[in-house]
Symmetry: C2
Subunit: 490 residues, 2 copies
Amino acid sequence: MSKGLTSRSDDYSQWYNELVTKADLAEHSSVRGCMVIKPYGYSIWEKMQAVLDQKFKDTGHSNAYFPLFIPKSFFSKEASHVDGFATECAVVTHYRLKNDGNGNIIVDEEAKLEEELIVRPTSETIIWNTYKGWIQSYRDLPILVNQWANVVRWEMRTRLFLRTTEFLWQEGHTAHATSEEAQAEASQMLDVYADFAENWMAMPVLKGHKTANERFAGALDTLCIEALMQDGKALQAGTSHFLGQNFAKAFDVKFASKEGKLEHVWATSWGVSTRLMGALIMAHSDDQGLVLPPKLAPIQVVIVPIYKGDEELNEISEQVLIITNELKKKGISFKYDNRDTQRPGFKFAEYELKGVPIRLAFGGRDLENNTIEIARRDTRTKETISREGLVDVIEKLLEEIQENIYKKAFDYRAEMTTEVNSYNEFKKVLEEKGGFIAAHWDGTPETESKIKEETKATIRCIPLKNKQEEGICIVTGKPSKERVIFALAY
Amino acid sequence: MSKGLTSRSDDYSQWYNELVTKADLAEHSSVRGCMVIKPYGYSIWEKMQAVLDQKFKDTGHSNAYFPLFIPKSFFSKEASHVDGFATECAVVTHYRLKNDGNGNIIVDEEAKLEEELIVRPTSETIIWNTYKGWIQSYRDLPILVNQWANVVRWEMRTRLFLRTTEFLWQEGHTAHATSEEAQAEASQMLDVYADFAENWMAMPVLKGHKTANERFAGALDTLCIEALMQDGKALQAGTSHFLGQNFAKAFDVKFASKEGKLEHVWATSWGVSTRLMGALIMAHSDDQGLVLPPKLAPIQVVIVPIYKGDEELNEISEQVLIITNELKKKGISFKYDNRDTQRPGFKFAEYELKGVPIRLAFGGRDLENNTIEIARRDTRTKETISREGLVDVIEKLLEEIQENIYKKAFDYRAEMTTEVNSYNEFKKVLEEKGGFIAAHWDGTPETESKIKEETKATIRCIPLKNKQEEGICIVTGKPSKERVIFALAY
């Protein structure tokens, strides 16, 4: 183990970068802006995927797969979509390389594509072009499809997990007979995301609408979940869009209604990405490393033997086997680290870095006393307890840790949410404290843009079921009926 | 339901194409050579993935993710690899589009990449470039990593699942301290593939070595599993490569051995792809549609009510609920199709087309008699049986179907494997019968190429544990010690 992490208070950004690489989550690749997700990081992503995938299936969705490439012309078909997505992207122009005769591999100019292909930044266009063939009548609706895929958006400044040129995500794309049904779907999927964020990631989120400025290119309404990171910055953790009939019109997708009328189909799309990994890391971790919610930890319990000589190790291993057999029965994941190449102190630091929720240390004296040392990662406290009923203790403790880190994040967010009533106050809180700032706004894109230009803060969302209260816009003094949530954001 | 399928005997190729689209497995997309995998097809692929993924994990592998793009120069680093993969591929040359002022979206020539990026056709190069940073000493070995990903190989003639420009696959990439260990890994993963093919796909496979001509570009040895389709053509269903130190040398990946010596690392790679879907379809299906092995069928049992009026339907549905509750307990997947928009005959044909292993039909008389009609897809036989112990009957029947379709494919292969002792006989069998042809060969690439040019047949493999027997090459008359397996292939 190399020396410790930079502390969050010294340099939050540096702390994050070091943590991601030192905890073996991800690293930069040789391809600009693209990351390598390392096995430990990927195993967390797999757990996220499994939970989300089951939730999608439980709400009636099926997975499918659509092409990586999208013909350039598809982007032009939906007016606002083209500006949002057809700019910074990876463009495939040729389909062959050749040897130039001097041992260099060059692009074969004779193999130029008639129409360039874009590596998908999002798949609405190719999917709605496909749905056209799937939908004739109301009997074909709804279509409830999700895709797990990689997407590419050419980013100039990248950060592991948070903003990378290629990232992994899921994108749901549904088709409906009515506007109401599509809106209900968008709302349902937002709830799925919020449930996942709060009950699996242990990360409280605000559910709300994006303003017109921040809406998905092509959507009539973008719903989002917004989380607060430990540096007081917001992170958009998932979005669910009501697309109206925009893509159906762009790709001419109509259905015959029960009454025999031809109507355009209503659409939603919704997605979360490997960005959630960044959120998970930043929501809970500390200066010693990752803090993982037990429900998403690839290893929930690590057991480290502390021994003198092979004989004692064998005795310990025998007792550990009894514990691990019981853990297996309960479906609790574990690792018994009996490597003889590293000392216990090294192992302790390693599993703290990697965020393993519970650490058991089993020493020679524990053999005699029928005890074991149990340490929890979230509070970094430890105690020596009897091995009687150990696995029940572990099971309960895992639940307690899950709740505790949620509560900690929830309390932090409460403390870091401030109501302000003037633009001066707004700027002061933004600069000195950060966090979510609840303020009155006149509802215009112009005011929103002005605030963004002057302070870099954006409206994260107009919360759902927002308290209605009379007020005046902090910038223009115009009347306002509700507070919206501002923050600096990732 | 549109009219039936073309029969296999009339036009095998047409039968396949119709089956893939009519059974809702996949379809061609608007992007040349790329397919859309539809929800039903994808649900079979997901089942395959789940089984394989568990097998990889059970053998100590972890998943990770590497970039989609590979810098052009990486391909030049391994001499044979560049010829094999850096020719027909998707080349990204630009990273921005712009509006030309006349409303057209064009490539922004100012956003030209300094070095072109290739969409990965396979990931050895980018992965070994990454492993360089992961490996210093023997303690870092072995690395046992797998990746589930999309890859692109620019294909001129494509067929759904069998040969598409973009396809989905997994690629294992392992790093070892010794040649022996790497070879054992390659061999182990071949066994994993063979086990999966035979015991899940119910598809018998030959395990063997590829000849030098057919070897993976960059490998010292390519192991493969070869299956026989119902038209007598072979299909390579999976490969596992021993790469020696080729990629370690190309990317300068060395490790300090226990003795402190710097040595190049030994490598394997292994993969199976959505091509397995094509194999699964062609191995078992018939003129009525798909025949799925129960272990990979997304729906194992379908239940169709046959009723007059809502009251009878309600009574049937009540009884069906008892059955489905029991099926659930046993982990048997099912669908109760009580749509009132389609007649039973239509539904029967639909589930035959989709290859559901068992169909139950529940009619009014079954209410009185405590009976049910049970039909099996593989033999297309049906009988009316008592509902007492029904789910046990179903459980046993699913196993029986799994075994039966394996046996059928096994017997077909036995019948379609022919030993020949002259080139004339070889050509006659190839033309009139097809299948696997076991013949003596002098071991030279020249003779192999000559046979391929003259007959299109290739050596599918030199079987593992091949019977050693003296013979003479069917073409050159030179001495040979074993027969190898020839066939026309997909």
